[in-house]
Symmetry: none
Amino acid sequence: MEVAMSHFARVDAYLQSHLDDSISELSRYCAQPSVSAQNWGLQETAEMTAEMLRQRGFEVKIFPTDGAPIVYGERKGRSPKTILFYNHYDVQPPEPLELWDTPPFEPAIRDGKLYARGVSDDKGHFTSRLFAIDALLAEEGELPCTVKFILEGEEETSSAHLAPFVRSHAELLKADACIWEFGGVDFRDVPMQYLGLRGICYVELSVETANQDMHSGLGGSIMPNAAWRLVWALNSLKGPDEAIRIRGFYDNVRKPTEREIALLEALPDPAEEYKTRYGVKSFLKGLTGGTPLKIAEVYEPTCTICGLTSGYQGPGSKTVQPAKASAKVDFRLVPYQTPEEVLEKLRAHLDAEGFGDVQITFLGGEAPALTDPDDPFVQLVVEAALEPYGQPMQIVPMVGGSGPNHVFIETLKVPVVTAGIGHPGSQAHAPNENIRLDLYLKGAMHIARILKAFGEN
Amino acid sequence: MEVAMSHFARVDAYLQSHLDDSISELSRYCAQPSVSAQNWGLQETAEMTAEMLRQRGFEVKIFPTDGAPIVYGERKGRSPKTILFYNHYDVQPPEPLELWDTPPFEPAIRDGKLYARGVSDDKGHFTSRLFAIDALLAEEGELPCTVKFILEGEEETSSAHLAPFVRSHAELLKADACIWEFGGVDFRDVPMQYLGLRGICYVELSVETANQDMHSGLGGSIMPNAAWRLVWALNSLKGPDEAIRIRGFYDNVRKPTEREIALLEALPDPAEEYKTRYGVKSFLKGLTGGTPLKIAEVYEPTCTICGLTSGYQGPGSKTVQPAKASAKVDFRLVPYQTPEEVLEKLRAHLDAEGFGDVQITFLGGEAPALTDPDDPFVQLVVEAALEPYGQPMQIVPMVGGSGPNHVFIETLKVPVVTAGIGHPGSQAHAPNENIRLDLYLKGAMHIARILKAFGEN
């Protein structure tokens, strides 16, 4: 223990004294836009990512796909045991630009935070891992275990090419455990171990009723209106009772286990924090907080309208009957639903309800997936948090978000854990995205300990 | 009859020989921008309008309002019987500029047409009336009846100051009949008498469920979504059967009379033209054409979504749960509905349906109004078309659009008729707005005959 402490004292000292260097590298990385939804800067960022890995002695390969390239890096360690990091170099669109206090691609430090689009999701996670590797290499000259990185550039647009890549490169990616792209503390500053992810099926519903918009004085009584068709089609999916009306939608929904519910019960009640942060007056379905809210939050599938577009949207009035209308709709899935199943049931539902004119464009999907909270690697990662954070991680068996963890869990047969630098105010996907520099440092300390403990056990 | 013919032969000869002068005056008038939506050139155009009236011996007054000035002109005639012309000197915005073949404020003649923003709507209508007056004054030295003009500068932005002005200046505007700002021929070149206008109540419905957008992985199961609230609120207004569900909405709807139905029956069937022009496959409510289609088109009130806005509307996917959503909604009203009544019933409906969170912003309204097709003045105007057009006007008892005709009908107790220079390809409100010079001449001939017949009967 004394030896271990003195060892980590040196690693921690390295991290503390080199924090500015790592933040500078992260700032340069964030200044390079990489907006997958807008196909902006992806190739450049893939090459930048590869170079950052090469500088740490990784063997790197950039794999082209029909979308953004996948970057792979590997460096052997003292132990052949292998940890695989999954990260992504793409970011969310920066809009609405007017709500940013400083420009999204001009990283700026204020009050102990670094602000930039992608700084938390996910560029800061990647560089904090490189930072931990820098410290281990500086102190030991080699890594305690073999480390692999896979970074994609399409995470924010549903990872279209990741799953086939992982399936066709299972040997290359072979590992004993996987550390996921994100992680961090909750509002109490307690480090959290997020184990399961919901799935997602993201579609655009669109309808076209004429070859041009028409004067609303002409069309209103006799000609079809695309906006109305869309509203009625959406209304057929879910009513104000929040029950999703697609036939068979709930057939494959697994209820949470007693162990999962016990883990949820141990977590703080998020009700007041949500109300304060989002200015929400009350929750859906009569929920008020506690375990029922926590269960509903992650163990229920959703049907969310993410966007609506039709006709005139400017100031004042324009008397037009729209020829086109569309909606972005996001279904979050729980075990054992699949996006393919939802797509099929959605089409059948719309046809059965008389909305054969509503087109479905599939914009991306992921299956839900779980890692066993009692897996030994989970326990190692949980315990490794003790020194940096002053306490072990608390396990969250499932979170509301989605990602391609199922591909790794099912194809590579690895546990997938989280360990990262996020905090509840990080504004991921929103203006003024940021990281806290203190948590950036702690996150790197945690990763260094995980690699060391894993290599030596 | 011989005398009358010879009289109009001289008037017609004057019009034919002075057409170029009138078109030159119209061109100068159109070269002066007067875009009410952009508050561009309104004062200058009001003064130009006043000067054009003064040159014909009218006593003119410019009334300032909180918006654009109202121009009033009056010239006594042989008979004290009075015709009031309603016109407007403002025009639609010229955008999109790149679609104009020649610049919108540089009038150009091509293929027997004059092109310019506002040339049809409504500047050419005004000058063609002045042109008829020029001919009568040249031939007779005085007008056969008293003529009044009222021109506003806010017609294209909902005539905010017209109704209160008319109500507070009823004595000044006192007349026996009113000729409306527009008119013209249909696609067969048959002159049309458009008698009634539907009313309108234009609102924006908006809902806000949180103080910011949230990640859709977080909010979907437990927190309210503004886009869903809006969809459900809209769906409560009208279902796929097209029946408007607002309680009492149809209470004051007057069915068309047998006379009105007979007038509609005499009109050509618009079904095929609509299908071709708009690419519409079928009509609503099982309508296929003929009189039922013509009745539904104008004698049924509507609830039209003119625009929808919420959340992410760009390319690809963004996993966001919107905090705000809004819709532009246009109700077309039929006698005896009123915009005030609809606003009140809409609020009561939303509250009763559980949508107290949906805000209503009133963006403008007009009551519907009718002129009796058997009014003697209507018959006079219809018959006066015989010589210029080779046939009398065909009466359309009601059209789908809206305007402030109700203010004149109700306040001044006058019949309101149309007589004008428009044609179906005039591109009013669109690029390459134009008039046909042959119809400009016929329109002036028609107006001269109306004034003469009215003064002498």
